[in-house]
Every structure is written in structure tokens, then in C-alpha cells.
């Protein structure tokens, strides 16, 4: 992305000053909530509420028009009816505001007149050098700068590495709130709305060079320009993982075709192929996306990139260990036998222990071994095995969750190979221990299958990057 273009988009996330047109003193209105969110989110820049009928909103001096604001304005948020927009846009262009978020609905999604109005506003903005997102969106979320969305829900305070671009404001909002509970933290969130000016693909391009973003999640209805998606997504995937949840599985307006191929080519199948070409991972739902993002944030970026696909499984109860192994096989991972050296050491240090992979621990009889937790003893032995690239600890039980927690934290502090924790139990004490694991950024998964699939995603991505590199050399 051109530096000039990048600086222009920076204004959406790091504005020095924000004008909120349609700001309100009425707590039920979005114009009130949004200004209040700026205050509560800790935004440090200047806030200019614009409302001809008010003198003051939430302690900020209100202005009749942006033209009355004595300062420069970096970003304008429009919370006004579509019918009033043309005049307001004229003023904003005159004020030379470089970025705008149109929150309100009532444009291209409503029919022909809406399309025309939206296009008129875009033309005016472009002529005036203003970038637009929306209409029909909940805005931006940037925990780093304290730039909040319009939603009435909570917002994540912690700055993290996941960026989210969403073609649904509500859907994207749910994703962020669910992700927080899941232990994820975010760099940026963009609700793109009708995508009248700046597009999903533009923001993908922007995020490629964003130092705060490790991984990108896109909640997608569809791209305008599939060829440009491939052009932008390939170099993006080379440097950071991209996950896409594609909704809207039926195709509208597909041309009738005379060939066999044309009749089979459903749009989802074509998207799938394009995603694979671009090195993008398609996910089936939010949970899968959040599992994968957990693996990327806490394993790939936190612990390190697995050298290969071979998983050592250390299970409490045997069953979940086998379930994890099954899923590993299905997603292209391997669960190889341990080396002779490992088998010998396991026999030596833990009499009666199973020496196969998965290896399981009798949790009922789980006793400390020479003052050490049996998970830690096994982890230390298996970590040194050259046949194993990463480990999964499955089913830590509920008998002594505190001991299991301490073991996992000890492993996190000392283990040099990537690992995940799969802990399906529940209950007050277990939940408290899990909360600590989330806070400490230990990659935690709820079921063996989901954990194994997330490890599979790491290897799929690793292969995708290798493929893109190879392609570049051709």
C-alpha cells in the first residue's frame, strides 16, 4: 500500500480529533452512546459533538456545524438521516476532513434512490479527498487509541494481535464479545457496512503492514473484485494468517450457463478455491475461527512455529486422547510412536505408565512423582523426542484442578516446543483455573477435536506460506 494511502486510512484508527454529527444529549440515542463510548474507552483526542440544538453534550461543547469547529478535524462520524447528508457532506468537504464513517442505514440497501444518493456522497467525498466507510455500519474499534464502536455492548480493553474486518456490524460485534470471553484480544475492528468507498480488500492491504496485527479475521458476504482479492491476499497471507468466514451461500444473479462446468460452479466452491490459492483459511463458524486465532496468537506467535505436523498427546483419561489423535489424522497431522529413548525414559521414570502415543495418565490414582506433577514429568521427556514437533495435553480432570493449572504454567515457562491444553471439564474451581490459563495466554481448548483442528490449521497455514513462497520463485 502506498504510504499516502496508508496515512489516509490511519485516520480511521488514530484520529487526533473526532466530530460526531448527530451527537445527542438523549441517552437512548446512538448519538449519545457513541460520544459516551469515546469517553469510557479512554480516547485521548479531541471530541466535537455537532448538534444545532445543543450547547453541550456529555461535558463537551457542541457546535452547529463542523465549519464552526476552530480546530482541524481528522475523522467525522455521521449519525444523521440519509436525506440530510448532502448538505452536511458539503460542509465536511469544505472543512477538508480526511476520513468519515457513515453509521446510518437508508442507502444502497434500500433500492435505486438509495444507490444514487450513496454514489453522490462518495463522489463528493472523493473529490474532497475524504475516505469513507459505511453506510450502515457500527464503525471502528481500536483498543490502542481508545476509538470505540457505536454498539451498546462492552468493548475489549486489552490490546492484542487479532484484526477483524466485518461486512456485518452486528455479527462482527458478537465475534469480538465472544472472543473476549475466549481469551482473545484485538488490534483493530472494522465494520465495513455497504462498502461504499474503502473496501474489505483495501483494509486487508492496510493490515498487511500494520505492526499491531498478527492475524486477520474477515466476516465476509462477498468480494466486489475477486481478482484484486487474490492480488492483495497472497502477499498478506505470506506475512500473517488470514481466516475468512464466508456467509451467504446461495448465489444471486449467476448467469445461466450452457456448459457442465458452469452448472456445477457454485459461488462457494469458487470462493473456496480462491481462498486456497491465496493461502487464506476458510472457517465454518465463529468457534472455529476463535480456536484457530487462539492457536495463531498463543502458539504461532506466543510459543513458536511448529517445525512439523507430528503431535505428542499426553492425556488424562484415555478416551479424549484417542479422540484428539483421530482428529489429528483427519486434519493432516501425525501422531507417531515415541522414540526408543522416550519409551525407555517413560518406563524408567513412571513405572506402569503407557508408552504409546497418545500416552495416558491414570488421573484417579494421579500421584506426584518424586515431588513432580505427572504431566510435567511426561512433558519433559516427550519434549526431548525428535519424533515430536508439538504436544497436546488433553483432559486435565477435575479432581485437583489447581495442581493441573500449576503443571501447565510450569510447562509454559520451560517447554521449548509448541503445546496446547485441552480441558473439557467444568465447575467452579476448574473454571477459575481456566480463567488463569486464558489470562496467561496458554492456548486453551474446550474439546479434543477443536484443539486438534486448531493445531491442524497451524500446519495448513505453514504449508500455504511455503507454497506461496515457491510460487514467487517461479
Amino acid at each position: 500500500m502506498e504510504p499516502k494511502e496508508r496515512e489516509a486510512l490511519d485516520k480511521f484508527f488514530y484520529p487526533q480529533s473526532v466530530a460526531v454529527i448527530g451527537a445527542s444529549a438523549e441517552p437512548k440515542k446512538t448519538g449519545y452512546v457513541w460520544v459516551k463510548n469515546f469517553v469510557e474507552y479512554g480516547y485521548k483526542g479531541k471530541i466535537y459533538p455537532i448538534n444545532p440544538k445543543e450547547d453541550e453534550i456529555l461535558g463537551f461543547k457542541a457546535y452547529k456545524s463542523v465549519l464552526d469547529v476552530p480546530d482541524e478535524i481528522d475523522l467525522v462520524i455521521f449519525i444523521v438521516p440519509a436525506a440530510a447528508m448532502v448538505k452536511i457532506m458539503e460542509e465536511c468537504v469544505k472543512k477538508k476532513i480526511p476520513a468519515g464513517i457513515i453509521h446510518s442505514a437508508g442507502y444502497a440497501e434500500t433500492g435505486k434512490e438509495g444507490v444514487l444518493l450513496q454514489q453522490k456522497l462518495v463522489d463528493m467525498a472523493r473529490q474532497g479527498g475524504m475516505k469513507l466507510i459505511g453506510p450502515n455500519c457500527v464503525g471502528i474499534l481500536c483498543p490502542e487509541s481508545g476509538h470505540p464502536w457505536a454498539r451498546r455492548s462492552t468493548f475489549p480493553k486489552e490490546v492484542g494481535g487479532v484484526a477483524v474486518i466485518s461486512q456485518s456490524g452486528g455479527g462482527g460485534g458478537y465475534f469480538i464479545n465472544m472472543g473476549e470471553v475466549r481469551g482473545l484480544s484485538f488490534s483493530k475492528f472494522i465494520s465495513i457496512g455497504n462498502e461504499c468507498d474503502v473496501s474489505v480488500i483495501d483494509f486487508m492491504d492496510y493490515l498487511k503492514d500494520d505492526p499491531k496485527t498478527n492475524a486477520v479475521f474477515v466476516y465476509l458476504e462477498g468480494f466486489r473484485d475477486g481478482q484484486r482479492f487474490l492480488k492483495i491476499a497472497k502477499p498478506l497471507s505470506r506475512v500473517k494468517p488470514v481466516l475468512v468466514y464466508k456467509v451467504g451461500r446461495t448465489e444471486v444473479g449467476r448467469k445461466m450457463t450452457a456448459s457442465h462446468t458452469g452448472s456445477i460452479a457454485g459461488s462457494l466452491a469458487v470462493y473456496d478455491g480462491a481462498f486456497r490459492q491465496a493461502g487464506v483459511l476458510r472457517v465454518e463458524d465463529f468457534e472455529e475461527a476463535q480456536d484457530y486465532l487462539t492457536a495463531f496468537e498463543n502458539v504461532w506467535y506466543g510459543q513458536g512455529i511448529p517445525k512439523g505436523p507430528r503431535v505428542g498427546i499426553i492425556a488424562g483419561p484415555g478416551g479424549p486422547g484417542v479422540a484428539a489423535a483421530d482428529t489429528c489424522g483427519e486434519v493432516g497431522l501425525e501422531v507417531p510412536p515415541f522414540s526408543e529413548e522416550t519409551v525407555r525414559k517413560l518406563a524408567e521414570e513412571i513405572p506402569g505408565a503407557s508408552r504409546t502415543n497418545p500416552t495416558d495418565i491414570d488421573l484417579g490414582a494421579m500421584a506426584m512423582l518424586k515431588g513432580k506433577n505427572p504431566f510435567v514429568v511426561r512433558a519433559n521427556i516427550i519434549e526431548a523426542d525428535d519424533n515430536i514437533d508439538m504436544m497436546a495435553f488433553v483432559g486435565l480432570g477435575e479432581n485437583n484442578p489447581k495442581a493441573a493449572l500449576d503443571a501447565m504454567l510450569e510447562i509454559q515457562a520451560t517447554c521449548k516446543k509448541p503445546f496446547i491444553v485441552i480441558w473439557p471439564s467444568a465447575g467452579k474451581e476448574v473454571d477459575e483455573c481456566k480463567e488463569v490459563l486464558l489470562q496467561k495466554k496458554v492456548p486453551l481448548f474446550l474439546t479434543p477435536e477443536r484443539g486438534a483442528k486448531a493445531l491442524g490449521a497451524l500446519i495448513r497455514y505453514k504449508k500455504a506460506v511455503e507454497r506461496l513462497e515457491k510460487e514467487d520463485l517461479q
Binding site: 481478482q227 450452457a258 456448459s259 462446468t261 459461488s267 466452491a269 486456497r276 490459492q277 517461479q474
Partner: protein, 235 residues
């Protein structure tokens, strides 16, 4: 005349004839201009010629009607397979002509296409379609029920890299049929990937080609041969 010019000439000839679907021999010439292997074939305009050509091509042969009006040749009973001696070829020629006239009395018949019938390969399909979002896309799948019923196909957007071609072949569930299972020999997957890349190049260089069906393509122990091909131009 280079490959590109040769293809352009065929396409403009088709346009001049006010058609947008290439005849099978035209489609195969277009494909072979881009280095794709197609069945060796000849078009006979008499029963005697058909017998002579069959001898040259080698028995058994397949015989099909060539007519711009008869696109779905199987439905029109205009295909005869496994013709393994001169009598059968002669009989097939006459039967095909009669069937074609019965199917469409006004059809312009340009002759009977003959080619050597291939065996021992794995049947696959390669297709091209124009997608509203991505533009030209290539489809790959195994032949027969694998495509019709199982929808076991993969897509990639043109242009395809060599890596894309390999990925899309490996992606389908039926892939093990190509690597050789149950005592069957391994097929020439490299040749198949080459073919996919060539089809991509052909589509990229000729925007007006809207759709293609290469069905079937036989992937042999060595090489991959296009047995039937349909190319459709934009309206």
C-alpha cells in the same frame, strides 16, 4: 503462424459463421495449439473414407457426428464406440448419418469424426467457467459419478500456477484413484498438472472463451489426453 494467431483465426471463423460453440475438431485444434494432447482424429465424409481413416488411426475407434446443430451428441444417438473392424465402421457411418437426420433434418452435417479409442486411463474432467466475482475459473474432477453425483470437484481462479494445479488435483476426495490403488498403476499426475496450466494459459490469452468442458480427459500411465472437448464463446 504462432499458437495464439492460430487460435484467434479459428475463433474468428466461428464468429463469422454466427456460432458461439466450437465444433469438436475446432475445439481440439485450439487446445492442441496450446500444447495440449488431444486424440488423433480425422473427419470422414464417406463410409469408405471412414474405413480407411479407422485403419490409419488403429482399431478400435470411436465415431461421432460433426454438426453445429448437434451439440449433445449422445442424446442424439450420434456417437458409436468400440468399432473394432472395418464392417462395424462402415455400418456405424451409415447409422450415424441416419440418426443425425432423424434427430434434426435441417442439421448441417460436416462428416463423421473418428479417433482411436483409448483404454487404460483414469477419466477426469477439466472445465472452465466465468464467475461473476472472480472471472475465469477452472474446475477439476474425476469423471462420471464423481462429478455428477458426488460433486467431488475443485476450483481455482485463472491464472493457475503449477502449485495451484497440483493442489487442486490433490484436493479432491477421489485423488487416490490417480495415485494407483488396488493394484492399478499410478497415473501421470505431472502431465495432468501441465494440462491444467495450459488450459489456464489458453483461457487467460483468449478472454472471449467463456466456458470449456474437456470431458473426458484420460490420464494415462504416461501423458494425459483430451478425448472430447467443448469450447463456448461469450455471446
Amino acid at each position: 503462424m504462432n499458437a495464439h494467431e492460430q487460435v484467434k483465426e479459428i475463433l474468428s471463423k466461428v464468429r463469422k459463421a454466427k456460432r458461439n460453440i466450437l465444433l469438436e475438431p475446432e475445439a481440439k485444434t485450439v487446445l492442441s495449439s496450446y500444447g495440449c494432447t488431444v486424440t488423433k482424429e480425422k473427419v470422414a465424409v464417406s463410409a469408405g473414407e471412414a474405413v480407411a481413416f479407422a485403419g490409419e488411426l488403429g482399431f478400435p475407434v470411436v465415431a461421432k457426428i460433426v454438426s453445429p446443430e448437434i451439440i449433445h451428441k449422445t442424446d442424439a444417438k450420434c456417437v458409436k464406440v468400440n468399432l473394432n473392424n472395418p464392417e462395424k465402421v462402415k455400418g456405424a457411418y451409415q447409422e450415424l448419418m441416419a440418426n443425425a437426420r432423424a434427430y434434426d433434418p435441417k442439421a448441417r452435417i460436416e462428416g463423421v469424426l473418428l479417433y482411436h479409442m483409448i483404454s487404460g486411463g483414469e477419466e477426469v474432467i477439466i472445465g472452465l467457467a466465468t464467475d461473476a466475482t472472480f472471472g475465469k475459473v477452472i474446475m477439476f474432477g474425476l469423471g462420471g459419478i464423481w462429478v455428477e453425483v458426488m460433486k467431488d470437484v475443485s476450483f481455482r481462479v485463472v491464472p493457475l500456477s503449477r502449485e495451484d494445479a497440483r493442489d487442486m488435483v490433490e484436493e479432491i476426495k477421489g485423488y487416490p484413484l490417480l495415485t494407483g490403488i488396488r493394484g492399478k498403476s499410478a497415473k501421470d499426475i505431472d502431465a495432468l498438472c501441465d494440462l491444467l496450466v495450459k488450459v489456464s494459459k489458453l483461457a487467460q490469452a483468449n478472454e472471449e472463451i467463456a466456458e470449456m468442458d474437456l470431458n473426458p480427459v484420460f490420464v494415462m500411465d504416461k501423458g494425459a489426453i483430451i478425448v472430447d472437448a467443448r469450447i463456448i464463446l461469450e455471446e
